[in-house]
């Protein structure tokens, strides 16, 4: 085995490990941020500053009894969480998180900091996240309980509605960059514009596509079922929605999938709109620090939003998705296409 191959395998393993851990870190982050927003302390008993709380949660989840409703469809009941978690992990496979690196001169040839470099990477992410819907729908159906079924139905309706705007906002960026590969989209955002000849502005697509960024983030929140669009699991109406009947590790898989999906959406948003690993001050081989920083800023934004905004009403959500977000995304796409042709990019 060549050194490059080993390095590539290490990168893949590292990506998987970090995604797995990101769920735990995010749970702690969510609880802490929520606590501070509500003027509480949050978890503080397990470990310093409550830092070991996720570990305690995991042990609790593993020790719990596995329950299954008597009338549930056994095969689909257990397939659903597996589908959800697999889709969540698989989507990150094509997300790059840093420039090509030789690990400080350790390797002769540089390796890419991503699990798989596919030249249609953006579409792959889109395809895999759309497969994640099945996990939720099947969980709702297979549980054979009314709350689960309603949660599953709501989720599929919501995801179908918002996937359109999501895809259209992606398409505008694809047109600007002229490529479907996430790595090339990020590389197209290197460098600076100089406003009035002096003020440097990074060439991030968020400045060219502010509306696109807004649409992407809104649709992303709806796609990951987070507040204020968390209808599939609206607890006041549906107990816990599609995962009402799940317990122990099967529940943990859904939980993990939700947080990993958040990470993926944030990472894709950073790569598409916020310049990926490009940023001032740091040399290129430390670009992954910028990437992490930006992803965490977006994740914080997600959590912040959840604990600040109340949940929408379901018909409002659908109306917003179809009557406002979709036309706005279409308009954005048309204007972008016009400008691209006019400027001759």
């Amino acid at each position: 085995m060549s050194a490059t191959l080993i390095a590539q395998l290490v990168v893949i393993g590292f990506t998987f490990f970090m995604l797995l851990n990101s769920a735990a870190v995010l749970v702690l982050m969510e609880r802490k941020v929520a606590a501070f927003i509500q003027q509480r302390l949050g978890p503080y008993r397990v470990g310093p500053w409550g830092a070991m709380q996720p570990l305690a949660d995991i042990i609790k989840l593993m020790m719990k009894e596995e329950l299954r409703p008597k009338s549930a469809d056994t095969f689909l009941f257990y397939l659903a969480p597996i589908l959800c978690a697999t889709a969540a992990f698989a989507a990150f496979a094509v997300v790059p998180f840093g420039a090509d690196t030789t690990f400080f001169g350790l390797l002769d040839e540089p390796v890419k900091l991503m699990a798989a470099d596919v030249n249609v990477g953006l579409l792959v992410i889109f395809a895999i996240t759309s497969m994640g819907v099945y996990g939720i729908v099947l969980a709702g159906w297979a549980s054979n309980s009314k709350y689960s079924l309603l949660g599953g139905l709501r989720s599929s309706a919501q995801m179908i509605s918002y996937e359109l705007s999501y895809g259209l906002s992606l398409a505008a960026v694809i047109m600007l960059a002229g490529t479907l590969s996430l790595r090339e989209v990020v590389d197209a955002q290197a460098g600076y514009w100089h406003l009035f000849g002096v003020l440097p502005i990074p060439k991030w697509y968020v400045f060219l596509q502010p509306l696109g960024f807004f649409i992407f983030m809104t649709a992303g929140v709806a796609e990951t079922n987070r507040a204020p669009f968390d209808f599939p699991e609206a607890e006041q109406e549906l107990v816990a929605g599609y995962h009402t009947e799940y317990s122990s590790m099967t529940f943990a898989l859904f939980f993990m999938a939700e947080y990993i999906n958040m990470v993926t959406v944030s990472a894709v948003a950073v790569n598409l709109f916020l310049g990926g690993w490009h940023g001032p001050f740091l040399p290129e081989y430390l670009g992954w620090m910028w990437f992490l920083l930006k992803v965490f800023a977006l994740l914080f934004f997600y959590i912040w939003m959840r604990w600040t905004l109340p949940r929408y009403r379901y018909d409002h959500l659908m109306e917003f998705g179809w009557k406002w977000l979709l036309p706005a995304a279409t308009l954005n796409l048309l204007v972008t296409a016009g400008v691209v042709i006019w400027m001759g990019w």
């Binding site: 579409l123 792959v124 889109f126 395809a127 759309s130 099945y134 179908i160």
Partner: protein
């Protein structure tokens, strides 16, 4: 290696497609159809056409099948066993049955003819040339230059279908609703 994957995907596809028809539970039929589509997408990857593979997943497995699943769930059709005792299987009257038999024979003849043609022109392995032809850029050029008319005609067809669905589903405000009747 490629041949091994081809046979795996092909076998999965054929078995899943057969099971789609054989299932009593419509939920499983939908899922097996998705498996079949996924295997087809794998075949596209083997043919050096990643764009087609991904589009296959997005459109068929992702978008269309979610709608199917949605409808099955909304109707909540559990199984097809209901009413099976009162009616013999395949008892749909002689007319439709004969018509169906003729159609089946036509289909079988077509299939045999198509398979013989393939046997005459053997399957060419995908070379580097195929990758250039199936790139997104090349497909875009083909679609909007050579096949522009077909593309536009298809979109008009889809629009017609959509308008038709809206008209069929629309409630006429002048007609009394079921409750009023």
């Amino acid at each position: 290696m490629d041949a091994l994957f081809f046979w795996i995907f092909a076998a999965v596809m054929v078995v899943a497609s057969l099971l789609v028809v054989g299932q009593r539970n419509p939920m499983y039929s939908v899922l097996l159809l998705i498996v079949s589509f996924a295997a087809l997408s794998g075949l596209y990857v083997l043919l050096n056409a990643p764009f087609m593979a991904v589009v296959q997943i997005i459109i068929y497995a992702g978008a269309i099948m979610v709608l199917f699943l949605f409808v099955v769930m909304l109707l909540n059709v559990r199984t097809e066993e209901d009413g099976a005792e009162t009616r013999r299987p395949f008892d749909i009257g002689p007319g439709p049955r004969r018509f169906g038999a003729v159609l089946a024979v036509v289909l079988a003849v077509q299939l045999i003819w198509a398979l013989r043609r393939i046997a005459e022109a053997p399957f060419a392995p995908a070379g580097p040339d195929a990758a250039a032809q199936t790139s997104v850029y090349a497909i875009g050029l083909r679609l909007f230059r050579e096949y522009a008319f077909a593309f536009e005609a298809t979109s008009v067809l889809i629009l017609v279908a959509m308008v038709g669905a809206v008209i069929l589903a629309r409630r006429d405000p002048h007609l009394p609703t079921r409750k009023e009747q």
